[in-house]
C-alpha cells in the first residue's frame, strides 16, 4: 500500500537506499513534502528554503504528494518525480507526520537530508482523533528508517534535535523555521480592530490571545481554565481569543461545550481560520499572548507575538522555553492559577510590561530571515563536509545580516541558478 506513490508501472526504481553514499556537493537540492500549503508554517518554510537554495546557486524544486490549490504553481506532484536516480541531486525531506512518502524515499538512491519539524506525541490526541493517532504513531515509527537512510538531518529546535539523536540520527544541526518577520506586519483589518477595541460593542477587559490550531495538544482548554481563574481573581471582564483552524470536530465541540458550561460563552471567542488582516487586528488588540501548549516543536506564533510587541506568557513544555528564551515569561508551574497570576503580574506593572515587550522584540529579531537563511546554508556546509565534499568555513556562508539578499553562487561554482 505504501509503495503506490512514484512506483510507476514498467519503470524500475533506482538502487535501494544506502548503496549510493553522498559524495561532494550537489548541483541540485530538491525538497519533498507530503502536504504543501502556503499558509502553514512548514509551507512558508519550504518556500523560503527553495528561494535560499536558488539564491545560493543550487537548482531546487518542491515535490509534494498533496498540493493545496494556492500552491499549485510552486510545487510539482510527487507522481512526476523521475523514477531514475537524479544525478548530483540531494533530497531534503520535511517530516512531521506518518506518510507513505518515507517508503518512496527509502527506495530511492539520492542522498537524503531530513528536516524534522517534530511529530506530535500520539497520546496527546488519540482519544480525540483516532485516525490522526495512527498517522502520528507511524510518523514516530518512521524516524528509525529515516535515520538509517538519511546522512544528515535538520531540526527546528534543540528539542527536536534531541529527538533526532535519540532516534539514531548521527549528524544533525538546528535551523529554525524560515519566515520573514516583515510578513507579520500586514495592514490591520480596521473593522475587526474596532469590534475588538474601539467600537461601541468592544469589551473593556483584558484581551488574551492564542494563535494556533484548536487541537488538544495545544491545550486551549487550559487557557480557558486560566481565564476563569483570572476573571475570578483580577478582571471579571477579561476575554480570550482563540485564533486558528480546528483539528477535527470532537475536540472543538468539547471545548465549545466546556466554555458554555463554565458560563464563559461571552468571554471566549473561537474564531476559526481568519485572514491576515484580521489576524493583525487580533494581535493589535491583544494585551497578552498566552500559550499552554503541551507540545510544540518550535511555535511560530510566539515569535509573531514577540515581534508585534505583545508580551508573551507561556507554560513550559517541549520547545516553548527555548523559542521564548528570555523574550517572555515561561512558567514551570502548569496550573491555571499560575498562568492567571503571571498575566496579572506582567500587565499590572507597566515597567515589566514595557521591558518584556522590548525583550520579546529582541528575541524575535534573532529569527530574522537573513539569520535563519545563513544558519541553513551553514548547516548545508556541514552536510557537505559529512558527505565528504570540499567544505568551506561555515562563517563565510550567507552571513548577510537581516534580510539582505544572498549572493548567487555562495556555495560553489558551476551550478546554474533558476
Amino acid at each position: 500500500m505504501t509503495r503506490a506513490v512514484g512506483s510507476q508501472a514498467g519503470a524500475p526504481l533506482a538502487a535501494p537506499a544506502g548503496l549510493a553514499a553522498p559524495s561532494g556537493r550537489p548541483g541540485r537540492i530538491d525538497q519533498v513534502v507530503p502536504s504543501f500549503a502556503g499558509r502553514d508554517a512548514i509551507g512558508v518554510h519550504v518556500l523560503h528554503v527553495r528561494d535560499t537554495l536558488r539564491a545560493a546557486g543550487y537548482a531546487s524544486d518542491i515535490w509534494a504528494m498533496d498540493v493545496l490549490p494556492d500552491m499549485r504553481r510552486q510545487a510539482r506532484p510527487l507522481t512526476e518525480l523521475p523514477t531514475r536516480t537524479m544525478p548530483a541531486t540531494w533530497l531534503l525531506f520535511h517530516h512531521s507526520i506518518g506518510t507513505p512518502v518515507v517508503d518512496l524515499l527509502c527506495d530511492r538512491a539520492e542522498p537524503l537530508i531530513v528536516d524534522y519539524h517534530n511529530v506530535t506525541p500520539a497520546a496527546l490526541v488519540d482519544r480525540w482523533e483516532p485516525a490522526l493517532h495512527a498517522e502520528l504513531v507511524l510518523g514516530r515509527d518512521q524516524l528509525a528508517p529515516l535515520a538509517a537512510r538519511a546522512f544528515f538531518a535538520l531540526a527546528d529546535s534543540a528539542y527536536n534535535e534531541q529527538e533526532l539523536r535519540a532516534s539514531g540520527f548521527r549528524h544533525t544541526d538546528v535551523v529554525p523555521p524560515l519566515f520573514a518577520l516583515e510578513s507579520f506586519e500586514v495592514d490591520v483589518d480596521e473593522h475587526v480592530l474596532e469590534r475588538l477595541r474601539d467600537g461601541p460593542r468592544a469589551r473593556q477587559g483584558t484581551h488574551w490571545l492564542f494563535v494556533g490550531r484548536l487541537a488538544p495538544h495545544k491545550a486551549p482548554h487550559e487557557l480557558v481554565k486560566a481565564l476563569a481563574c483570572y476573571r475570578r481573581l483580577y478582571d471579571p471582564e477579561a476575554v480570550l481569543h482563540l485564533v486558528g483552524n480546528p483539528l477535527g470536530t470532537t475536540y472543538p465541540r468539547a471545548l465549545a461545550r466546556y466554555v458554555q458550561r463554565l458560563g464563559l460563552a461571552d468571554a471566549v471567542e473561537i474564531t476559526g481560520s481568519i485572514g491576515a488582516g484580521e489576524l493583525a487586528a487580533y494581535y493589535r488588540a491583544a494585551d497578552v499572548f498566552v500559550c499552554a501548549s503541551a507540545h510544540e516543536g518550535f511555535c511560530v506564533p510566539v515569535v509573531e507575538a514577540m515581534h508585534l510587541g505583545v508580551p508573551v506568557v507561556a507554560q513550559a513544555a517541549a520547545a516553548v522555553p527555548e523559542t521564548v528564551d528570555g523574550g517572555g515569561v515561561v512558567l514551570d508551574d502548569r496550573s491555571p492559577l499560575a498562568l492567571a497570576v503571571a498575566v496579572h503580574r506582567v500587565l499590572g506593572d507597566e515597567d515589566v510590561r514595557r521591558r518584556l515587550i522590548r525583550a520579546g522584540r529582541h528575541r524575535a529579531a534573532s529569527f530574522a530571515l537573513g539569520r535563519s537563511r545563513a544558519r541553513l546554508l551553514a548547516a548545508l556546509e556541514r552536510a557537505v563536509t559529512v558527505a565528504g565534499g570540499a567544505a568551506r568555513p561555515a562563517a563565510s556562508v550567507g552571513e548577510d545580516g537581516d534580510g539582505a539578499p544572498l549572493p548567487a553562487g555562495t556555495l560553489g561554482d558551476g551550478r546554474a541558478g533558476r
Binding site: 480525540w128 493517532h133 515569561v329 497570576v341 503580574r345
Partner: protein, 358 residues
C-alpha cells in the same frame, strides 16, 4: 566585543534577571493565594473535572466502554460522499471529475482509517487490561477469609521536618499520595510549599478537603499517569505503597520518574516489614497477598529507575525501651544493654526513602 554588543549583552543580562525575579514573585503569589484560601483549590479541581466530562473517553475508569462506543460510531461506512459543488464551467469538467474521483477515494479511505484506528485503540486497551490482570494473578496470593491484613500505613508525623526541609524550593507543585487527613499537606503549606494531595476516598481525606486543603479523590497510579510529564516539583508517597502488588510498585516508581521534574524529590514513607508482621500476627502476615517492602527494596527500585542521591532515614523504634537516669552508678553499662535489647526487640517502625530525579 564592540560597544553595541556590550550594551546588548548587559541589557540581555538585565532582562533575564528581571524575568527570574518576576517568575519568583509569581510563584510566591501562587503559594500565598493557595495558602490564604482566597482561591479555593476546589475551584481548580472543578475546572479539571468539568473538562474531563467532555472528553471522548470520560474518566479513566470509563475508557474501555467509551472506546468501544467510539469504534461503534466509526464502524459505519458512508457510501454517498457529500460532493456538492458550485463549479459548472464546461472547460473544467474533466479536471473536476478527476479531482472528485481522487477526493472520493480519499474520503472513503479516511473513514476506513478512522475505523481501524479505533479498533486498534480498543485492542490496545484490552491488551493493557489483560497485561495488568496477568500481572496481578501471577503475583497475588488470595488471603484466607478473615485473615486479611489491613495495613494502615506509616505514621508520617516523625518525618514532617525532614519532608519540609527536602521539598523546600521545589520547582512545581508537590503531590502527596495518599494524603489521608492532610497532615503532610498542612506541614508543607505552613513551610510555604505549594502542595496538593490525592486519596481514593477516606473519611479523613474528605474532612481535609472540606477544611480547605487541596485534596482530590483519585488513586495514585491513575493520577500520575494523567499529570503532565515532568510537571511535579516533588512527590510524597505513603499508605498505598504498603498495600500494592509488586508489579504495581514497579509501575509506580516508573510513573513517578516520568511525572517528576528534573531535580525533583521523591519521598517514600513506608511501614517497616518487621513492625508490620509483629502487628499483623504470624498467620495473617504469612497469608497476606501484599506486604510492605523493606526500605532497601525501595532504595533499590528507585536507583534502578534512574533516581540519584538515594537515602534511607529510619523512623522511631517500634518498641521503645526506657533508659536509666545518669545519676545511677552503672548508667552507662545498663543503658548500653538496654540499647542492645531494643535493637534485638525491634527495629524502626517506619522509614523514609528519599531520592532525586536526575
Amino acid at each position: 566585543m564592540t560597544a553595541d554588543e556590550a550594551t546588548n549583552d548587559a541589557e540581555d543580562r538585565e532582562t533575564r534577571a528581571l524575568l527570574d525575579r518576576v517568575r519568583r514573585e509569581i510563584e510566591d503569589e501562587v503559594r500565598a493565594r493557595r495558602a490564604a484560601g482566597d482561591f479555593p483549590p476546589s475551584f481548580e479541581r472543578k475546572l479539571d473535572e468539568l473538562f474531563a466530562r467532555f472528553t471522548p473517553t470520560g474518566s479513566a475508569d470509563d475508557q474501555f466502554t467509551e472506546a468501544l462506543k467510539l469504534a461503534d460510531r466509526s464502524a459505519y461506512f458512508d457510501i454517498k460522499a457529500p460532493i456538492g459543488s458550485r463549479r459548472t464551467a464546461k472547460g473544467a469538467a474533466r479536471y473536476v471529475l478527476w479531482q472528485a474521483e481522487a477526493w472520493f477515494f480519499n474520503y472513503v479511505v479516511t473513514q476506513l482509517n478512522h475505523f481501524s484506528a479505533s479498533v486498534m485503540r480498543v485492542l490496545h486497551l484490552l491488551d493493557e487490561r489483560l497485561s495488568e490482570l496477568e500481572g496481578q494473578l501471577a503475583l497475588a496470593v488470595p488471603p484466607t477469609a478473615g485473615e486479611e491484613v489491613l495495613t494502615p500505613g506509616a505514621d508520617v508525623a516523625p518525618f514532617l521536618e525532614l519532608l519540609t526541609g527536602r521539598l523546600h524550593g521545589a520547582r512545581g507543585r508537590v503531590l502527596h499520595a495518599e494524603c489521608g487527613d492532610g497532615t503532610v499537606l498542612r506541614a508543607l503549606g505552613a513551610a510555604g510549599i505549594d502542595a496538593y494531595g490525592i486519596d481514593p476516598g477516606t473519611v479523613e481525606a474528605d474532612a481535609a478537603a472540606a477544611a480547605g486543603l487541596d485534596v482530590r479523590r483519585d488513586e495514585v497510579l491513575g493520577h500520575l499517569g494523567a499529570v503532565a510529564t515532568e510537571s511535579l516539583g516533588g512527590l510524597v508517597l505513603s499508605g498505598c505503597i504498603d498495600r500494592m502488588a509488586r508489579a504495581e510498585r514497579r509501575r509506580l516508581v516508573q510513573a513517578a520518574e516520568l511525572a517528576l521534574a528534573p531535580g525533583g524529590t521523591i519521598a517514600v514513607v513506608g511501614v517497616a516489614p518487621a513492625a508490620w508482621a509483629a502487628a499483623a500476627g504470624e498467620v495473617a502476615a504469612d497469608l497476606a497477598a501484599d506486604r510492605p517492602f523493606h526500605a532497601a527494596t525501595w532504595a533499590h527500585l528507585l536507583g534502578a529507575t534512574g533516581f540519584v542521591a538515594v537515602e534511607v532515614v529510619d523512623g522511631p523504634r517500634a518498641v521503645p525501651v526506657g533508659r536509666v537516669g545518669p545519676d545511677h552508678p552503672d548508667a552507662a553499662v545498663l543503658n548500653a544493654a538496654l540499647e542492645r535489647l531494643e535493637a534485638l526487640a525491634g527495629g524502626p517502625a517506619s522509614y523514609a526513602v528519599l531520592a532525586t530525579k536526575r
